[in-house]
Amino acid sequence: MNQKYLIPLITVFVLFLAAYVGVEGAKLEWFFGIVVPYVSLIAFLVFFVLKVLGWAKSAVPFKIPTTCGQQKSLPWIKQNKIDNPDTTGGVVIRMLLEIFLFRSLFRNTKAAFARNDKNRLSYSWEIFLWVGALAFHYAFLTVLLRHMRFFMTPVPSCIKWLEWADGIVQLGLPGLFLSGVVLLAAALFLLARRLFDQKVNYISLASDYFPLFLIIAIAGTGIAMRYFTKVDIVGIKSFTMGLITLHPVPPEGVGGLFYAHVFLVSVLFAYFPASKLMHMGGIFLSPTRNMANDTRAQRHINPWNYDVDTHTYEHYEDHFRDKMIEAGLPVDKKE
């Protein structure tokens, strides 16, 4: 048993039960349905902005682009313009590929000893983290955008197109949304990786497991409501629209599972700025990715540089001219 994953797991259970019991037992619909979502949204925005502004204040003493290709050099040597850009345009392309396709993760390698007599250490390409991460992030984005149907009247056609594409398999009634399945499967895969890969397990902390358990619980409660326990979604939309139009009214007869779902989402949002999930904002500020490799063409001034009192040779000679002439040393100016 490992406290690094047991404590986050128990925390998520307790959070789930707090909302479920709070609504079903203590009738705190107004608290879990109205106070918590608003507070968590405000906390999310305020602390997110503060955190990024904090990063913006920190100095960048060096240009430290990591490069994965030929630098701009002599005209007959072909430059790799995306992996080693020297222009802003190249940097923009590199950043877009990083943000939308997780290119750094694509290059992930693993080190392992060969399982034979030679026991040789070798490095190999390991693509599954990239596949899992890409599936997870895009499924989560789709799920998030799909939820906009609860927050707009009339529902914009782009959201309807997304729902159409997501439900294209037309399995069952209500129709299966692929993104929900992919989200849960990918989150479980990322969790399994942390639990069963010994090297990843060793470096995993409670703050790695907690968001995973939280997202698995959110996906689980959402899927349960849509496909299994069923909820009155007209009631839910009237409630979410109330939140959006700032006239919130808790819905009747929607049940504890819905409030548990909303509460876990609120916890995720409120926890976001304090967590590793801030890589969402941080990826834009990765200095190794967002700087052009043009250090030989343009001087990068360290903002930490202060004015140094310099003692030039002219001053030095002025200072010691007599002694230098006396000792027979050459001087620039005789007088």
């Binding site: 949204l41 999310f44 925005l45 997110f48 902005v49 990024v52 502004l53 990063w55 913006a56 906009m148 149907r149 609860f150 927050f151 707009m152 009247t153 009339p154 529902v155 914009p156 959201i159 309807k160 729902e163 159409w164 037309q170 069952g172 009634l173 209500p174 129709g175 069923k230 909820v231 009155d232 979604i233 007209v234 009631g235 939309k237 009237s238 629209m241 109330g242 959006i244 139009t245 007869g253 904002g281 834009f284 500020l285 967002n290």
Partner: protein, 132 residues
């Protein structure tokens, strides 16, 4: 990255996160919760296949079961918990869904449009009222 770029990025982010709030205020219609209207026979019948809340949450699963029952077992009668018997059909017969709930737009569509649900029932079935 320059400070100006970071701050403009943050402004865009905050506007995007708050988009449901301002988009609804600017582009949205006035928010009215639809109520499925019971017109014609349904208004006086006072009996349905399931009770009200169960019907709201589970009608799609029921229709799914009905489809399997009719297509695979040729069983077209549904004995409801309240003792009444109904025809397992969307639109055929007096005791089908639309046989009692006569106005599809008011009974089915009002809520489906509101919650952006596009049931593919109507890709095969037709609303008999539309044909006449």
């Amino acid at each position: 990255m320059s400070k100006n770029m970071i701050i403009s990025g943050l402004v865009i982010f905050v506007i995007a996160v708050l988009s449901p709030f301002w988009a609804q205020a600017v582009f949205g219609d006035k928010h009215v919760v639809p109520k499925p209207e019971l017109v014609g026979k349904a208004a006086t019948a006072k009996k349905c296949v399931l009770d009200k809340y169960d019907m709201r949450a589970n009608h799609m699963s029921l229709l799914d079961e009905w489809r399997d029952s009719v297509v695979r077992d040729a069983d077209r009668r549904y004995d409801a918990v309240n003792g009444h018997s109904f025809g397992m059909s969307l639109s055929t017969g007096e005791d089908s869904c639309l046989g009692c709930h006569e106005d599809k737009a008011k009974f089915c569509d009002s809520c489906h449009v509101y919650t952006s649900v596009n049931p593919y029932c109507w890709e095969c079935h037709t609303n008999p009222k539309e044909i006449e």
